[in-house]
């Protein structure tokens, strides 16, 4: 297509004019762009990352991390204890995602309406969006051939223990079961934004600029007048000195949960928007690896065909946390990342790695506790800090999720479990669970990963409680919007991609109505 531009195509400074400029092309940005073109609007999409269609993929962990992962997966939370996984590429994290596609739980939407005063995002408002997205992205419940051995075991375990589970809704078409979802789908089977909303928006006239980093919004009163964009040299990964100036009627920020609040802080808006960066969630995820007598081959077929939602809500008795507050899934990681999560080295490490084909595992992502949320901050040197406090309830939820993962894996035949992290905690039976008492939830203790950032540009009533209103408009600005997971008032509980996209349908309507 001739409306895709990479850094190598732009040889001098340019000024571009459009109706809407969308910053970021992940689930949030690409969807909003597609919907705006449905409304007949002219759209420019920008992404600071590179353009990597299937023919530029090679299924190698490190190579692909270098192409599509932000900071090549080296980014971590403030204390180094939590690996931040997100995209830096056209299509954003949808290119690495597992394609689990859940509608937002009604309970969440009701909570957001009642406690955070969000309007226009009820299940009734979102339903048409969910239906359209599910058709467009071929979302369907995972069928039996897509259950690898770990998924079969998870299903068996949930049935044995009486834990409610479900076939995970998947955004895929003609999946060949390669197991390389996190390295990008070479077969265009996974319905990432690269094969859905981006080409659809382009077909309706949108323009896409890859390697184009939005840097400065030029403001005039309550309006953004123009945006200055630096082109990033694909080889050096640094600005090449060429600038684009974009004049648009409206600007939609969709830089993702780890980046949108930071971008607005870089514009000097923290004083005007004191909630900027606050109320940050990331579904911290904890992994338990299991060694089995049988072959598992965790790295093939789809990651999550069966999920356990039995514990998705936290249970309290007399105000005391009892259990739950997470989704429990099978894990899938390729060997380099797997080895990095192992607490062992030397001979012990070697012995485990040699059993790789027989290693399975589970993962749980916790629904962030509302009064223990984190914050995106800007440091003195201008760099970003992702602060996460791990409050007492969060710690209890993490430990409970480890116990449940252990219970399930022992129930289906695991002979030894290894908790991902640095303390070398291994379990040989349920009796060993007492070892969890020594588990530290901080850098150098449990190893966490966070692929689901949210918040930081919370939606709400006004600048004292939030950053954007229910029309996704940044408080105090007429033509600046946010459309990604950063607008979530609290964590979306389940995997967020479909919620992000459905919210973008609403955002597009609001933008179009205001132009």
């Amino acid at each position: 297509m001739n409306n895709i531009f990479e850094a190598r195509d732009i040889t001098q400074d340019q000024t571009l004019t459009t109706q809407v400029c969308v910053i970021g092309t992940g689930c949030g940005g690409a969807t909003v762009a597609k919907k705006l073109t449905d409304h007949g609007l002219d759209v420019i999409m920008l992404d600071q990352g590179g353009y990597y269609p299937a023919q530029r993929m090679d299924q190698r962990e490190l190579n692909m991390a270098g192409k599509i992962s932000a900071e090549r997966n080296f980014a971590s939370s403030h204390d180094g204890g939590n690996l931040l996984l997100y995209g830096n590429n056209v299509g954003g994290a949808s290119v690495h995602y597992w394609a689990d596609s859940y509608r937002t739980p009604v309970e969440k939407l009701e909570q957001w309406a009642q406690e955070y005063h969000i309007t226009g995002h009820s299940m009734a408002d979102l339903l048409p969006a969910f239906e359209e997205l599910e058709a467009n992205l071929h979302i369907h419940a995972a069928t039996d051939p897509y259950f690898n051995r770990m998924n079969q075991l998870l299903r068996k375990g949930s049935e044995t223990l009486g834990w409610r589970g479900h076939r995970v809704p998947q955004a895929r078409k003609n999946c060949v079961k390669s197991g390389h979802c996190m390295q990008g789908c070479l077969y265009d089977a996974k319905q990432s934004q690269m094969v859905t909303h981006i080409p659809q928006a382009l077909a309706q006239g949108a323009r896409l600029y890859a390697n184009a980093q939005a840097q400065q919004l030029v403001m005039e009163g309550d309006k953004v007048k123009c945006l200055s964009v630096a082109m990033i040299d694909a080889a050096t990964n640094r600005p090449n000195g060429i600038k684009l100036t974009i004049n648009a009627d409206a600007y939609v920020l969709a830089a993702g949960g780890f980046s949108s609040a930071y971008f607005l802080m870089q514009q000097g808006l923290k004083k005007q928007l004191p909630q900027l960066g606050k109320h940050f969630s990331m579904n911290p995820s904890v992994m338990v690896h299991g060694i089995y007598d049988e072959e598992i081959i965790l790295w093939r077929n789809i990651p999550a065909a069966w999920g356990i939602d039995h514990f998705w809500q936290r249970q309290y008795r007399n105000g005391q946390y009892q259990e739950g507050g997470y989704l429990l899934m099978p894990n899938q990681i390729q060997p380099a990342m797997f080895a990095a999560t192992l607490p062992l080295y030397g001979v012990e490490h070697q012995q485990v790695m040699e059993q790789l084909p027989n290693i399975g595992g589970t993962i749980s992502w916790i629904d962030d506790v509302e009064d223990e949320l984190g914050e995106i901050r800007i440091k003195r040197d201008g760099s970003r800090e992702v602060y996460y406090p791990y409050g007492p309830t969060t710690k209890a939820v993490l430990k409970d999720s480890i116990k449940k993962q252990a219970e399930l894996q022992f129930a289906v035949g695991a002979k030894q479990l290894i908790i991902a992290g640095h303390q070398g905690i291994t379990l040989n039976s349920m009796d060993d669970l007492t070892r969890l008492e020594n588990l530290t939830v901080s850098a150098g203790g449990l190893m966490l990963a966070s692929p689901h950032p949210g918040g930081g540009c919370r939606m709400g009533l006004n600048a004292t409680d939030s950053v954007v209103n229910s029309d996704h408009q940044v408080h105090g600005f007429h033509n600046l919007y946010v459309a990604d997971s950063s607008v979530f008032p609290t964590s979306s509980a389940l995997d967020p991609s479909l919620t992000i996209m459905a919210f973008s349908h609403i955002a597009a309507k609001c933008v179009a109505a205001n132009i």
């Binding site: 590179g50 023919q55 530029r56 993929m57 090679d58 299924q59 190698r60 962990e61 490190l62 190579n63 270098g66 192409k67 900071e71 090549r72 080296f74 980014a75 180094g80 060949v176 079961k177 390669s178 197991g179 390389h180 070479l186 694909a234 080889a235 050096t236 990964n237 790295w299 093939r300 390729q334 060997p335 380099a336 990342m337 797997f338 080895a339 990095a340 999560t341 192992l342 607490p343 080295y345 030397g346 490490h349 070697q350 790695m353 040699e354 790789l356 084909p357 040197d381 760099s383 640095h422 303390q423 070398g424 530290t440 901080s442 850098a443 150098g444 203790g445």
Partner: protein, 200 residues
């Protein structure tokens, strides 16, 4: 042998002092505008980010923690140092700086335990003893340093094709799919290959 670590407070003090030293060196370099592409020629290869001292520490650590013998590649064969240097070259400077700092602290950690010399100068057995001795430490800093280094080494090592057969990993699903080197990988290769070799 039971290692008695010095107190967490004194460790942190020493770590902070070394950190300041490293930061000062780093910023000093920057302001003296050393070209970002300056090549550090080390016994383990030519690097753009890792300096010779980092390379010695990392190599000594990799030798101690990675599998050895038989079907396993050596750290050099699996290009652990090269690949880490390449990754560091393309990520944000504050992260790369942190990694160098961690390597620096690791180098001096045995000294802080008041028992040994610098990490890279210990024999393999001493390195292993030292690492084993820190296993149950309550110091978060010690744990964080060792674990960060371990994660980096494993990630690079098993990211390399030469380690796959030993662990029963059959590689990419698309067999015989050639590597598609990104512009960044190509640039790194060019920058770290001495000019004479390039022109040959």
């Amino acid at each position: 042998m039971q290692w008695q670590p010095i107190s967490r407070r004194s460790f942190l003090k020493i770590a902070a002092v070394t950190a300041v030293g490293v930061s000062a060196t780093f910023y000093g370099h920057r302001f003296m505008s050393a070209p970002r592409n300056a090549l550090h020629v080390t016994p383990y290869g030519n690097f753009l980010v890792l300096e010779e001292s980092h390379a010695h520490t990392l190599h000594a650590f990799a030798e101690a923690v990675l599998p050895r013998g038989g079907k396993y590649p050596t750290p050099q064969q699996a290009q652990v140092l090269q690949r880490l240097d390449e990754e560091l070259y393309f990520i944000s400077q504050p992260i790369a700086k942190d990694v160098k700092l961690v390597l620096h602290v690791l180098e001096w950690m045995p000294v802080m335990y008041a028992k040994f010399g610098r990490f890279s100068r210990l024999s393999l057995e001493q390195r292993l003893n030292f690492l084993n001795g820190t296993k149950n430490t309550r110091s978060k800093t010690v744990r964080a340093v060792i674990n960060n280094c371990r994660m980096l080494c494993f990630n690079m090592y098993y990211g390399h094709e030469s380690s796959w057969s030993a662990i029963g990993y059959d590689g990419p699903f698309a067999k015989h799919l050639p590597e598609q080197l990104s512009e960044q990988r190509q640039l790194y290769a060019a920058l770290t290959t001495p000019q004479q070799e390039q022109s040959q």
